[in-house]
């Protein structure tokens, strides 16, 4: 009875929930209906329900294609690099920013670091080509002038991986640091003062106060990141990649784009998407489980 009254009393809140719920239902749950395409020989003109069931044929076809494995490997590789390098970067940046005492500089630096986040990948791609091209790219012209041979940033595979990763870090590091900065603000100032009185150096304070203080945030974001391991954005690999490094730059999202939209094989594309979702789920649950066992913190 009490519970019911509560609902009545705050009905406005529930009404406000309708729109977001409708969003999730329309755009996230209803499309699940279409997942069955992955198990059908989908004919666009017959529609979803009239197409014939083919069982796991589509998956068999995918798993026999070399291109799929290459795309899968690359997805893991590029995401792995992002995890190793791209994940700690905003944490380090946030800690550095936090240690700055000159407020004006800190603010300006922060704003400048956020900016790349708002630039579309298409534009970043254009900049990258201008800056890193082998022949007349800015950096290679500089290198040439100081006597170091041109470095094929965009055409040689390992150099390309470095370019890909660092451009990603450049684009997202500032934005990523916001959440850590917010978490740092939540740490009790008295802890720092006490530590200072005890004679703890700056590094010690970071190590024993700041990092434990934002540990929960780090872990939550880490778990989410792990869940995204098979999920990769489309724009970045598609735009920064090129023919010479396609063996490395072709990832699941570009693969799906090519198969599904460009070649019109919707069943295959859906099946790859489903595969991606399932593996992602397994990853996120595993990461959560491990985290709960070891640090007692998790998201579910």
């Amino acid at each position: 009875m009490i519970r019911k009254n509560y609902v009545f009393k705050h009905w406005q809140l529930y009404v406000m929930l309708i729109l977001p719920m409708a969003y999730f239902i329309v755009f996230k749950y209803m499309p699940i209906y279409g997942v069955q395409i992955a198990f059908k020989d989908f004919n666009v003109f017959k529609g979803i329900s009239a197409s014939e069931w083919v069982g796991l044929e589509v998956f068999k076809d995918i798993f026999s294609q070399k291109g799929f494995y290459v795309a899968l490997r690359n997805t893991f590789m590029l995401n792995g690099l992002d995890l190793v390098i791209g994940f700690p970067a905003p944490i380090i940046l946030a800690i550095c920013l936090n240690e700055l005492r000159f407020q004006k500089f800190k603010k300006i630096a922060q704003t400048m670091l956020y900016l790349p986040h708002f630039i579309s990948w298409v534009i970043i791609g254009g900049i990258v080509y201008q800056v890193f091209a082998t022949n007349y790219g800015m950096i290679n012209l500089l290198l040439e002038n100081i006597g170091i041979g041109p470095i094929p940033f965009l055409s040689e595979k390992s150099a390309w991986l470095a370019t890909y990763t660092s451009v990603g870090v450049w684009q997202s590091v500032g934005w990523g640091s916001i959440i850590y900065l917010a978490a740092i603000t939540g740490i009790n100032k008295e802890l720092y003062e006490a530590a200072e009185v005890d004679g703890a150096s700056r590094l010690r304070r970071i190590w024993h106060i700041t990092i434990p203080g934002i540990r929960t945030t780090i872990i939550v974001l880490f778990i989410l990141k792990i869940g995204d391991m098979v999920d990769i954005g489309f724009d970045r690999p598609f735009i920064i990649g090129n023919v010479m490094v396609r063996e490395y730059s072709d990832v699941l999202s570009t693969y799906i784009y090519r198969i599904g939209l460009q070649s019109g094989q919707f069943s295959t594309a859906t099946a790859v998407g489903l595969f991606q979702a399932v593996v992602g789920l397994v990853f996120i649950l595993t990461a959560n489980y491990v985290s709960k066992k070891t640090t007692d913190e998790g998201i579910i």
């Binding site: 009545f8 009905w11 529930y14 009404v15 309708i18 409708a22 239902i25 329309v26 209803m30 209906y33 004919n43 666009v44 003109f45 017959k46 529609g47 979803i48 329900s49 009239a50 294609q65 070399k66 291109g67 080509y129 091209a133 082998t134 022949n135 007349y136 965009l154 055409s155 090129n242 023919v243 010479m244 396609r246 090519r258 198969i259 939209l261 460009q262 070649s263 019109g264 094989q265 919707f266």
Partner: protein
């Protein structure tokens, strides 16, 4: 009581929302199940006579290239108004144009075909896509409708109609293509003069000239002797000149059609062609970043800035655009720059064999879910009249074009730009205007070029016709495997090209074999098997 009322209204809102959602979904699925169920009220598919009482809407695709003049759109402009007034109103039809982004054409059509929302009249140059829709039962058989409602159209298109027949059914109306020349090349005459060299006429002479351009850095530090991009207009002419086979059988069994191009990938000479390009690359005669230049922007830039010695391009490109043509820009940028047409590559017989188009243009189709097939054909039939073709390509004399030497030549006035900014996308039944013979057509094409380049442009076109071979060679129907793998094959082929060309010369063989094997494993073998089977069946 009051509270109950509130709950009631809340529940009502929620149910309404769900009803809406559910309504949408059931609607869309039933749509895709049995074709469009909407507009069943004014369904007059059966009634074929022109005096139909009810006004209907005919939706027509138009490419959006983002080039509409200010204040106009591709879907609403002077030309669409002309069509509405002259075709729509007399026939009681509302003509509605639907914009499809040019570069995303196949993607958006695929999606719209699947959703059942594609326009009544769709078109594409992509035969593979057309065939795949036909195969899945998504296209209307236009044969009987053309017979009944398209007498002008039939007469006008004549032979090109056959290209739209897949397995005996006329799934598409195929436009004519008037100018079949595909690629042309230019060479810097002033550079040759400086070196005292003649215009090269064989592959060896061309190679020597390229070497000399490089050694003397005639275009400055950035000299690029041979303008080369990762695009067909760069590699196709070179590759085809190295092919030592030319029988139809060889073309059926050892080349592969990707999109609308024929790739002689297993033919004798293909490897030599790539090895030659590899040599050019390793000797610094190509742009080192050519593989990044898929849209040819860099290649064009290098040419107009005077870095390029030999430049090959889609025929018509560098002379087009009047005062702003590529050659004009080059001459403006570089003092003394002078170009002449050249046929740089010769084959084993000493001929300049080069690719040309088949005489077919766009595939124009009507989806099965459309109820306006008859109106669509009537529209095309209306278009196939001389005065309509004339107006849709040149507008009115004195306003949009002038008559020069008996040919209508657009005058580039503001009115002209406003009416005719996309004639090729509106006048879909033909690609280019036919004046009766190829000499006349060439003569006409030259008139659109600035006066001082007319002779060059004409010569350049004539060169493009020399020993040209229509491609691709056609089977009775497109191949399933080629349709399925076309995107992947193109990417793999580009990989093969890039890797082989950029390999160190001593590891060329190995690189080529590995990349070729990759191509064949991915899709090539399957395609060749299907081609062989079909060729055997055809014999």
């Amino acid at each position: 009581m009051k509270a109950l009322k509130r709950v009631g209204s809340l529940l009502f809102t929620v149910t309404l929302c769900f009803a809406l959602i559910a309504g949408c979904s059931s609607n869309s699925s039933s749509n895709s199940n049995k074709g469009s169920s909407s507009s069943s009220t004014n369904n007059n598919q059966g009634s074929s006579n022109s005096g139909s009482k009810e006004r209907v809407t005919l939706k027509i695709e138009v490419f959006d290239r983002g080039n509409a003049p200010e204040g106009l759109t591709v879907t609403n402009n002077l030309m669409t108004q002309y069509i509405q007034e002259n075709f729509g109103d007399p026939n009681n039809i509302d003509v509605e144009f639907v914009a499809i982004p040019r570069s995303e054409e196949i993607n958006s059509l695929n999606v719209q075909m699947a959703a059942g929302t594609a326009p009544d009249l769709i078109f594409t140059y992509n035969e593979g896509a057309a065939y795949s829709w036909a195969q899945q039962g998504g296209l209307t058989d236009l044969g009987p409708i053309v017979d009944e409602h398209g007498p002008n159209l039939k007469e006008y298109l004549a032979n090109s109609l056959q290209y739209g027949v897949f397995e005996g059914t006329q799934y598409a109306v195929v436009a004519r293509r008037v100018n079949l020349q595909k690629y042309s090349s230019l060479i810097r005459k002033d550079w040759l003069d400086q070196l005292g060299l003649p215009v090269p006429t064989t592959t060896e002479e061309t190679y020597e000239a390229l070497k000399a351009f490089k050694e003397n850095n005639l275009g400055g530090q950035r000299t690029i002797p041979f303008g080369f991009a990762l695009s067909p207009d760069s590699y196709e002419p070179v590759i085809w000149s190295f092919i030592n086979e030319q029988s139809d059988e060889a073309r059926y069994l050892r080349s592969i059609t990707i999109g609308s191009r024929e790739y002689p990938i297993l033919m004798d000479g293909h490897k030599d062609a790539l090895q030659f390009l590899n040599k050019l690359y390793s000797e610094g005669l190509l742009d080192p970043d050519f593989a990044l230049d898929k849209d040819k922007k860099k290649k064009e830039e290098n040419f107009v800035n005077g870095y390029t010695g030999i430049y090959s391009f889609d025929t018509g490109q560098v002379f087009g655009n009047g005062e702003n043509s590529g050659v004009m820009t080059l001459e403006g940028n570089v003092e003394g720059a002078e170009v002449v047409p050249v046929l740089p590559w010769t084959d084993f017989e000493g001929k300049s064999r080069q690719p040309a188009y088949n005489p077919s243009g766009m595939y124009i189709m009507v989806p099965t879910f459309s109820e306006r097939a008859v109106e669509a054909i009537k529209y095309l039939n209306w278009m196939a009249q001389d005065e309509v073709i004339q107006y849709m390509s040149f507008g009115e004399v004195g306003v949009h074009h002038d008559v020069v030497n008996g040919y209508p030549v657009r005058n580039s006035s503001e009115e002209d730009q406003k009416l005719l900014f996309n004639p090729g996308d509106m006048l879909i039944i033909t690609n280019g205007i036919d004046f009766g013979s190829s000499e006349k057509n060439n003569e006409y094409m030259a008139l659109s070029v600035v006066e001082k380049h007319r002779d060059l442009a004409t010569l350049s076109r004539e060169y493009s016709d020399k020993d040209a071979v229509s491609q691709p060679i056609r089977f009775e129907k497109p191949l399933d495997s080629e349709a399925k793998y076309s995107v992947i094959m193109l990417e793999k082929y580009e990989e093969l090209l890039v890797k082989s060309i950029m390999a160190k010369p001593d590891s060329f063989d190995q690189t080529y074999e590995v990349a070729l094997k990759d191509f064949m494993d991915t899709a090539g073998t399957e395609v060749i098997q299907e081609r062989t089977a079909m060729y055997e069946a055809m014999k």
